[in-house]
């Protein structure tokens, strides 16, 4: 083949492209991917310099210490057999805002008292801490290290030292609590991390065929599906074995609504709890937002009606049996937890303790 002719033809073909200014889109993408605050001014300069010294997140308190054992868990009241919350495990909370170097993980079960567990580094606030599905361990990313500890403090260890700093892909626990979705660097010199699963028993990394812009993955309880945002307002649901992917209609692209924060996926992947934003609303900060204002049918994009009694949905988590724990805020500002069965009927509700008013739910476990 005539190489020179091929070169000329490629150059000719390349001239077909229309030259556009992508500057603003680049900065938006950077922000949406959770990579960096795209803001001007001294704050950005500090953030950029922080990254140069290896700090993972612009807003990570420099030198924030690792986790330390917190107060011993207080005695948790066990629900009675007739208690509708009987098959709900613990609800884990982190502060919504904090300027502390360490922040405590808190657990609560309806009918009991909140208990303070491990102290986590303040840098994980709103970003990447994740409690295992069995409620026994918590994982987080600190700089480039994927960390793990028991929720009550001990057994802290590094699972991987080569996680992509600042990535919004995980960590996210598999339903069997045996592996974590994470973004791991392939090898030195290759700038793109690979999205996949870290097996906690063997340490092996299994790559997933997932959008390179995938963000905030959440699992279905059967372990088959992952839902995530694509950084452009769309939400995708992928079968992790076959890689078959479905994009949730009515979100992102030219649609009125976007979603950059997926919070929870139902057992069969048919419904997803997420934060949906309209054209006049802020897409949110780069940090993970655990708020959810809608449950959406992943096949139609339609909003699933919930028996909220006119109150505002602020968080929502599916249980493995497809029940939903919905957190709502009433007119008086009080926050309640609603237990909704798989058919969409309200089972029961309970007022949260006042001590949890400024906390966000990090996870709801079934054991």
């Amino acid at each position: 083949m005539n190489d020179q002719r091929l070169r000329l033809d490629l150059a000719d073909l390349a001239e077909e492209v229309t030259l556009v200014d992508v500057r603003d889109r680049v900065l938006r993408t950077s922000r949406r991917l959770g990579i960096r605050r795209a803001v001007a001014g001294s704050a950005a300069a500090v953030a950029l310099l922080g990254a140069a010294t290896g700090t993972a997140f612009a807003f990570s308190p420099k030198g924030s210490p690792g986790p330390t054992p917190g107060n011993l868990p207080s005695v948790v009241t066990s629900p009675s057999p007739a208690d509708p919350w009987a098959n709900v495990g613990r609800i884990f909370y982190l502060p919504t805002v904090s300027d502390m170097g360490n922040i405590p993980l808190t657990a609560w079960r309806p009918g009991g008292q909140p208990s303070t567990l491990v102290d986590l580094p303040g840098s994980v606030l709103g970003s990447n801490a994740a409690v295992s599905s069995d409620g026994r361990q918590v994982a987080w990313v600190q700089d480039t290290e994927l960390m793990l500890a028991d929720v009550d403090g001990p057994n802290r260890r590094v699972v991987s030292a080569h996680v992509e700093a600042g990535s919004c892909w995980g960590p996210s626990w598999s339903p069997d609590s045996q592996s974590l979705a994470a973004a791991v660097m392939r090898r030195p010199g290759i700038p793109i991390a690979q999205y996949g699963l870290v097996d906690l028993k063997t340490g092996r990394f299994a790559p997933l065929k997932i959008s390179v812009n995938g963000c905030r993955p959440v699992w279905s309880a059967d372990g088959q599906l992952l839902a995530y945002t694509d950084g452009e307002g769309r939400v995708a649901v992928t079968n992790r074995h076959s890689s078959a992917t479905r994009v949730v209609p009515r979100l992102g692209g030219n649609n009125v609504y976007d979603s950059y924060h997926v919070v929870s996926l139902s057992r069969d992947g048919s419904r997803v709890a997420l934060l949906r934003t309209g054209p006049t609303e802020d897409d949110g900060d780069i940090a993970r937002d655990l708020n959810a204002n809608a449950v959406v049918d992943t096949r139609t994009g339609a909003t699933v009606n919930l028996p909220l009694g006119g109150r505002k949905l602020i968080q929502a988590y599916f249980l493995p049996d497809d029940r939903l724990v919905a957190r709502v805020k009433g007119g008086g500002g009080n926050q309640h937890l609603l237990l909704i069965d798989a058919d969409g009927h309200l089972v029961t509700e309970v007022a949260e303790p006042a001590a949890l008013a400024n906390q966000q739910i990090l996870a709801v476990t079934s054991s």
């Binding site: 390349a14 950005a44 300069a45």
Partner: protein, 174 residues
């Protein structure tokens, strides 16, 4: 404006045209090319504090772009967005030299290649990279670049024989 952000702006505006041309050859689609450049530059933005004074920012951006493109998701999107239909084979007459028609044929033929095959062609024959440079860019061995280049050219001949014929008629040995 923050001086680092200002520098980044200048870099983006100066290098976007060249990046878009390569991205267009890699994707075969205007919107996918824009997406690809946008994603690569966003990652460059992330590392700008350590890249801005090294002179390696463009190399980093291109490397990122190639790795993004070879990834599964974008390959799938390209396959979805680009029609696999090739234009009808043309006769060997005077019209054959029509550059517009040739572009259509070449574009459709490139769409038949794998993402990695297309990447090695663009690196070797559009960006004029050596085999070693292409290997470094893609994070593969020189042997892989050689084999992928060979496969890519063979595939081009298979899916668009009239292109190969054209090149042969112009004096090359197949």
């Amino acid at each position: 404006m923050d001086p680092l952000l200002s520098e980044f702006d200048s870099f983006v505006r100066a290098r976007t045209p060249a990046l878009l041309r390569s991205a267009y050859l890699l994707t075969g689609d205007q919107h996918l090319a824009e997406d690809l450049v946008q994603s690569a530059l966003a990652r460059t933005h992330r590392s700008w504090s350590r890249l801005h004074d090294t002179g390696n920012a463009e190399a980093y951006t291109r490397k990122t772009m190639y790795h993004l493109q070879v990834s599964w998701w974008r390959r799938r999107r390209v396959a979805e967005s680009v029609t696999g239909e090739l234009p009808e084979p043309r006769r060997h007459d005077g019209d054959f030299a029509s550059q517009t028609s040739l572009r259509l044929t070449l574009r459709a033929a490139l769409a038949r290649l794998s993402a990695k095959q297309r990447a090695v062609l663009v690196l070797r024959f559009f960006e004029d990279r050596s085999e070693a440079e292409a290997a470094e860019m893609l994070g593969v061995t020189v042997g892989t670049v050689k084999s992928q280049t060979s496969k890519a050219l063979a595939k081009l001949r298979t899916v668009a024989p009239e292109l190969a014929d054209l090149y042969v008629l112009e004096g090359s040995v197949r």
